[in-house]
């Protein structure tokens, strides 16, 4: 099958007002989308539209503004359900970011369903958000934490993974679907097949993956899938946890408060149905409305076009960067997305990032919230360029030229 798309990146760029900004008098070259993506006009307009014309608190209002705002906010749940191909909209739980989603899991699934003595499996390339909640669980609930090693290419060691599961003690596998450092896309279907064979449930950290690929939770056959709005061109302040309904229903709530109850007396409270059981307090209303617009925007472009664009960019970038002397690209996974880490001989990543910034080029540098991975790689930090739907080949070229200048400055 060949994909024919009419993807016009210059037209896309016009949807993002911020891209016309200049930095130090130069056009902004924004290569830090993996940290947080820029927002299209549609998202801005949706949020402004709500604040200017249709806003009130949701779910309990009987008046016009509240009813209409509830509809607009809940439409986001439908959009997410469609995006992920969930069986039912009630499988979509909104949180504040993916960190909140994973903490919810570590609490409600970890403390509520897993038994002391069981194990959780993570991998050697997780973001701190998918490490620390499980450490807190381990320390308070006597859960064992097992780590799948990664190969020198930066891929999961799938044999070692299966070995970790063999004793049947693993209750949950929580693994990234795409590394925010190496760009590696993990073999999600295989992970699920192996884990289920040994009776373990599987959650994916899809913070990066869902930005680059169509995620179909039924096709993946996973049990939970989490991601974060601000990386998918949506606002900050909203995250998503998808879970199989029957599992969500078994889990105790995480936070208590308004909106998540069925009845409250001082003696005893009972919980609302899923997903509301997990959504305490006034939700991120404006953010849900913004995220809905972001999803519509992405769906309008289509994941096929988006993935093809990013694959072409990534290929171009890998080719271009590999010609720069003294530059090492970190991670050589077969299946990878538009996130590229690199190190320059004789120059610290921070210095590289700052000197790129002086040329108007924004990249990230540091441990990327993945210290254990850095230790595995024997690095303190890397510089990282990451691409969005609006990134151009010219920007990749600017990065390469910029890096050549940095290199000659430091030599």
């Amino acid at each position: 099958m060949s994909i024919t798309t009419s993807f016009d990146v210059n037209r896309i760029r016009q949807d993002f007002p911020i891209l016309s900004q200049t930095i130090r008098g130069r056009p902004m070259v924004f290569l830090d989308s993996a940290a947080s993506a820029q927002k299209p006009r549609a998202v801005i307009d949706a949020m402004v539209g709500a604040m200017e014309t249709q806003y009130a608190n949701v779910h309990r209002g009987l008046h016009w503004m509240s009813e209409r705002t509830t509809e607009a906010y809940e439409a986001c749940r439908d959009a997410v359900a469609t995006l992920m191909n969930a069986r039912d909209r009630s499988e979509i739980v909104f949180t504040n970011n993916i960190t909140g989603s994973i903490n919810l899991m570590a609490h409600s699934y970890g403390r509520g369903i897993l038994k002391p003595g069981q194990a959780v499996v993570i991998s050697g390339m997780e973001h701190h958000s998918n490490i620390v909640p499980w450490q807190l669980l381990r320390d308070s609930h006597a859960i064992e934490l097992r780590v799948v090693p990664i190969t020198n290419y930066g891929e999961l060691d799938m044999e070692a993974f299966e070995d970790l599961l063999r004793d049947g003690k693993v209750g949950l596998v929580s693994i990234t679907h795409m590394s925010n450092v190496l760009g590696t896309v993990t073999p999600a279907e295989r992970i699920v097949r192996v884990a289920h064979k040994y009776g373990a449930k599987v959650m994916f950290d899809g913070a990066q993956a869902i930005v680059h690929r169509k995620v179909d939770v039924q096709a993946l056959d996973c049990d939970f899938y989490a991601w974060t709005g601000h990386k998918l061109y949506g606002p900050t302040g909203i995250g998503v946890l998808w879970g199989r309904k029957e599992l969500l229903e078994q889990m105790p709530p995480f936070m208590g408060g308004g909106d998540m109850i069925s009845s409250v007396t001082y003696e005893k409270s009972t919980w609302a149905q899923v997903p509301h059981k997990f959504e305490a307090g006034t939700p991120a209303i404006l953010e849900g409305i913004g995220l809905k617009a972001a999803i519509d925007y992405v769906q309008g472009i289509g994941y096929d076009a988006l993935a093809a664009h990013e694959a072409a960019l990534t290929e171009h970038a890998l080719a271009r960067l590999s010609t720069i002397k003294g530059l090492t690209i970190i991670g050589q996974a077969q299946d990878r997305g538009g996130v590229i880490s690199f190190a320059m001989d004789g120059a610290h990543a921070h210095d590289v990032a700052t000197l790129l910034d002086r040329q108007g080029i924004a990249v990230r540098a540091g441990h990327h919230c993945a210290e254990p991975l850095m230790q595995r790689l024997n690095l303190d930090s890397t510089a990282r360029a990451s691409f969005g739907v609006y990134t151009t080949h010219e920007e990749v070229d600017a990065l390469a030229t910029g890096l050549e200048r940095v290199r000659s400055f430091f030599k």
Binding site: S66, E67, E71, I261, Q273
Partner: protein
């Protein structure tokens, strides 16, 4: 007067009347099944008692704590379901819920038209999605009772 119409298209006389003086608003002493319904978002509660009569619905009684719409809906429901079998009743509920949500029943079986007409005064709630639950709550309790479930919430 235009203004009073604003009230009356939602709160038709029949709703006010059944809301104030429900004909069936009492607990049955002799019953076969019963269930409670609960709308956690607004605090409405209802309990429905059903006496079965050779597999069809015989006498029905209810106790409701709630607004005029939920009480009237419970009362009108009783009149609409008496003599029906459970499968029929569920089909009627689906049609009624569709009407309450959208203002009319879009794909209604012909045989449901008559009973739905009796329930039509409640169709005005479609403008208020959160009040739709007031209208459907007694139905949820009734269906729960027929299914042998003790409690229902309007989703």
């Amino acid at each position: 007067m235009k203004q009073t119409d604003d009230f009356a298209d939602l709160y038709q006389e029949v709703i006010l009347d059944h809301g104030r003086h429900p004909r069936h608003g009492k607990r049955l002493e002799a019953f076969d099944v019963t269930a409670k319904g609960d709308n956690p978002m607004c605090g409405d509660r209802v309990q429905v008692w059903v006496k079965l009569d050779n597999g069809t619905i015989g006498a029905v009684g209810f106790e409701a704590r709630g607004c005029a719409i939920s009480v009237a809906s419970a009362d009108l429901m009783v009149e609409a379901v008496q003599g029906r079998d459970p499968a029929d009743t569920k089909a009627l509920f689906e049609a009624f819920r569709d009407m309450a949500r959208t203002g009319s029943c879009r794909h209604c079986a012909a045989e449901l038209e008559a009973p739905l007409e009796r329930l039509a005064p409640l169709s005005g709630v479609h403008e208020y999605p959160s009040r739709v639950k007031c209208a459907t709550l007694p139905w949820h309790a009734l269906i729960a009772a027929l299914d042998g479930v003790k409690e229902a919430t309007s989703e």
